[in-house]
């Protein structure tokens, strides 16, 4: 059993979003996602097979949903996005790294 830290090993160069799988099993995966000013492409709705519980560990982001609503998420905020609930990342803080913790199940 190895202990790691969610704030460690953040690349200096975040030209693209960085996904790191922390746990992968038959039914779930746990991922750390690093963003810095990234957003989904205009047409890029996520339409996922799995439910996603996601929390902002650091930084700030705005999620958009296909009903036209936006949700601003700050440190410690979490939501549970049901499978096939279309959503996208409208904005992430361009100044600091946003660390997402996502559980897909």
């Amino acid at each position: 059993m190895e202990m790691k830290n969610i704030f460690a090993n953040i690349p200096k160069d975040l030209d693209e979003e960085v996904l790191e799988q922390l746990v992968k099993s038959e039914h779930i995966s746990i991922e750390r996602i690093l963003s810095k000013g990234h957003q989904s492409p205009e047409s890029g709705w996520y339409d996922q097979e799995q439910n996603e519980w996601v929390m902002i560990v650091a930084g700030e982001a705005i999620l958009s949903f296909d009903d036209g609503s936006d949700m601003t998420m700050r440190k410690g905020d979490y939501i549970n996005i049901p499978a096939h609930k279309k959503h996208k990342v409208k904005w992430t803080d361009p100044e600091i790294e946003t660390i997402w913790l996502a559980v897909f199940y």
Copy 2:
């Protein structure tokens, strides 16, 4: 979809550990656990049917394992504890709340 915050609604009175289930599905549960100076009883090994991925969101704790080893965990530290790996909480910070985020799967 309701947004909540992992740092919110922390009871002033933490005489006992407080568990809050954030997600429950067929295969997983996600829980917030609040500790403040709590520890497992001397004989109280956890011997769980499920794997547990657990992270310290705030505070500090020491986990003990039945091979005699201890692990000090601080903010952002996470480990993956396999099912039936016996462990217990040896110590949590008595001065501030320790917030654990646990995914049982």
